[in-house]
Symmetry: C2
C-alpha cells in the first residue's frame, strides 16, 4: 500500500522522519512511500503550496502522513498562496470531511497538564470535527461598504446532508465507545447551528443506544475546563471544532502528544499531529515526534487495515513514556531522534 509522506514546514520533516523509522522498525508489511512537498516549503520550491504533483500523489495514495504547514515568511502572501491552503485544499479535494481528534492523558504525563491531576486524568474523549464545510469554505472576500469602508466577509453555512454525514460519524464513534454524544453549536444565535441541531436530533432516531445532548459552544468551552471527564464524543462544525479540539488537547497535556485523522468515509485518510509547524523550534531537534508516531498508528488502523500493528506502536509509545522518554515539551531534554529511538527500543 502506498503512503504519501507530506512533511511540510517547520518541524514537519523532523517528526515525519521519526514516524517512518518507527513504521520500519515495527516491520509493517507491504508499505511503500512517496514524498512530496507541501505548504510553505512547496511554495518556496515550486510557487504553490499544493503543487499539482503533490495533489496527484495524494489522490493516488492509500493514505497520507502529513507533518505540518505554516511559515511566518509566507504570512503576507495572497491567501491562495499561503501554506494553510495546502491542508485546506487537500481536505476539500479528497473529501476528507471527518476529523477525529482523540484527547486522552497518558497517565505518565499527568504533571504536564495545566489542569489539576484529578481533572486531567479523567479526560478520555474524541472530538469529531466536520472538515469540508462551514465558514471555512463559504463565499468570502473583501468588499467596500456603501459608505466607502473596507469590509471583510465570510459566509457560514451547512446543508442537511453535510450535517447528517458527520453526525453519523459522531454517533458511530460514540457507539463504539461509552455511548455518549455531545453535539456543540450556537443555535441560540446562528441559523447554521439551528439546522445543525435539528438534523443531529433527527439522526439520533437511528441510534437509540447513544445518549445525545446539545451544548452551546461557549458553555462547551467552559465545561472542557471545568469537568472534561464528562465528555465521551463531541461532534461539531469546522470552526467550533478547530477551537475546541485545540483547547481539549491542551487540557490533556502537551500538544506534542496528540494525533489526528481526517477521513473521507471510504477508508482514505490524512493523518497528522495537531501541533503545527512550530517555526520557533524547527531544525533544533527539539520537536516531540510522538504525536506523529501516534498519527501513523491511526493510519494503520483506519486506512490500512492493520489494527495489530497500530496497537503495537501505541503500546510502544506508552512504554517509552513509562521508561522515562521526555522531550523538552514534556519537561525533558531528549532530542527528536532520541524519542524515536525510545519507541523503537520499546517495540522490540
Amino acid at each position: 500500500m502506498l503512503v504519501a509522506l507530506l512533511p511540510g514546514d517547520g518541524i514537519g520533516p523532523e517528526v515525519i522522519a521519526e514516524a517512518v523509522r518507527v513504521l520500519d522498525a515495527a516491520g509493517v508489511s507491504d508499505l511503500s512511500y512517496e514524498t512530496a512537498p507541501v505548504g510553505g516549503a512547496a511554495y518556496k520550491a515550486e510557487g504553490h503550496p499544493l503543487p499539482e504533483a503533490t495533489l496527484a500523489l495524494a489522490r493516488r495514495a492509500d493514505a497520507l502522513l502529513f507533518g505540518a504547514v505554516g511559515d511566518p515568511d509566507c504570512d503576507r502572501l495572497e491567501r491562495r498562496l499561503r501554506p494553510e491552503q495546502a491542508i485546506l485544499g487537500l481536505r476539500a479535494a479528497l473529501g476528507l470531511f471527518a476529523n477525529l481528534r482523540p484527547a486522552k492523558l497518558f497517565p505518565e504525563l499527568a504533571d504536564a497538564s495545566a489542569l489539576r491531576p484529578e481533572v486531567a486524568s479523567a479526560i478520555d474523549m474524541v472530538i469529531v470535527r466536520e472538515l469540508n464545510g462551514d465558514v471555512y469554505f463559504g463565499e468570502k472576500g473583501m468588499r467596500t461598504t456603501p459608505g466607502g469602508l473596507r469590509q471583510g466577509y465570510d459566509v457560514m453555512s451547512y446543508d442537511e446532508s453535510e450535517v447528517a454525514r458527520i453526525a453519523r460519524v459522531g454517533f458511530e464513534t460514540a457507539r463504539a465507545r461509552r455511548g455518549k454524544l455531545t453535539s456543540v453549536d450556537k443555535a441560540n444565535v446562528l441559523e447554521t447551528s439551528q439546522l445543525w441541531r435539528d438534523v443531529v436530533t433527527e439522526i439520533a432516531a437511528e441510534y437509540p443506544d447513544v445518549a445525545l445532548s446539545h451544548l452551546y459552544v461557549d458553555n462547551a468551552a467552559m465545561q472542557l475546563v471545568r469537568n472534561p471527564g464528562q465528555f465521551d464524543v463531541i461532534v461539531t462544525g469546522n470552526l467550533f471544532g478547530d477551537i475546541l479540539s485545540d483547547q481539549a488537547s491542551m487540557c490533556a497535556g502537551s500538544i506534542g502528544m496528540l494525533p489526528s485523522a481526517a477521513l473521507d468515509g471510504a477508508g482514505k485518510g490524512l493523518y497528522e499531529p495537531i501541533h503545527g509547524s512550530a517555526p520557533d523550534i524547527a531544525g533544533q531537534a527539539k520537536a516531540n515526534p510522538l504525536a506523529t508516531i501516534l498519527s501513523a498508528a491511526m493510519m494503520l488502523r483506519y486506512s490500512l487495515g492493520k489494527p495489530d500493528d497500530a496497537d503495537r506502536i501505541e503500546a510502544a509509545v506508552a512504554a517509552a513514556l513509562a521508561a522515562g522518554a521526555r522531550s523538552p515539551d514534556l519537561g525533558g531534554s531528549m532530542t527528536t531522534t532520541e524519542m524515536g529511538d525510545a519507541v523503537i527500543r520499546a517495540l522490540r
Copy 2:
C-alpha cells in the same frame, strides 16, 4: 441617576435583588431604580422578550443592571421571540459595542479552579469583546439548495470602522493596565479576520506604548489553558469573544464570580453577571449573587461616575470571601441572601 433593573429569567431576579440590597447598604447617593421584564419572563407576560416599554426604559436609564435571560420553555419558539433576542436586541438598539470581561481569581478561591493553583492564581486579564457585529448580526436564514436540501446560513463580517473602535477600547484598556494587548482572530482562514488583523495593526500606530501581538483563535484557546497568566488584555470579535471569555472565566474559578460590562462609548452601559439564567437551580436560593454585585460595582465605576463606591463594594466582596462566605458553586452552603448579607456586613 436612573438605573434600569432587568432581572429576566431563572436566577436573574434572585441575584439582582441582592445587588440592589448591597447598593442600598453601601449608601450610594442619588440612585433611583425602575424594573422591567425581559427575556422569557417578558415573553410569557407580554408576548415579546424585549417589550416596547422595557426598551423605552433602557433608553431613558443612565445604566442597566441585567440579570440573565434564557428559558428552556422557549427553545422551540421562532428565533425573534426567544429570550436571547432580548440581550441581542438591547446590545444593538443601544449600540453597546464594547464588552469588558475581567477574569481574575480571588486568591481565596484558588481551590475552586480546575487549573492547578499556580496556573490559576496568575490569571489577571480583561477580555474586550466586540458586541455589535460579526456573524451575530449579519444576514442569516434558512434556504433550500439547488438540490432541494435545507441549508442554514449566517454571514460573518466586519468593516474597518467597527474594528477600529473596538481596537481602541482594547488599546486604552491595555494602556491603563500592563500595556499588553493580544488580538485574536482566524486570519489564516477568514477574510473578516484578515481585515480585523490589518485594522488592529493600523490602529497600533496610535499606541506605541502598548505591545500588540496576534494569535489565532485555536491557539488562543490552548494558551488560555496552558498559561493564562501571559495575558493582560485580549481584544476579539463577537463570536470568538463569546467562546474565549467563557473559557477564561472558568479558568479563573467559579462562573458565579465574574461580572461584565457592555458599553456604548459614551458612558452608558449594561452590566450583567456572565453566568446566565441557570434554570436548574432557579428559585432554590442557591445562586451566587457575587457576580451581579461585582457587576453593580462596574456600573458605578464606568457609567455612574462613582469609583469610590465601586472600590468599597469590591473590597466588601473580597472581605466576605475572606471571612468564609461560600455559596454552593464555591463549595459552601450559604443561600443567595446569606451571601448578600455577608457582603453587607463587610461593607459596615
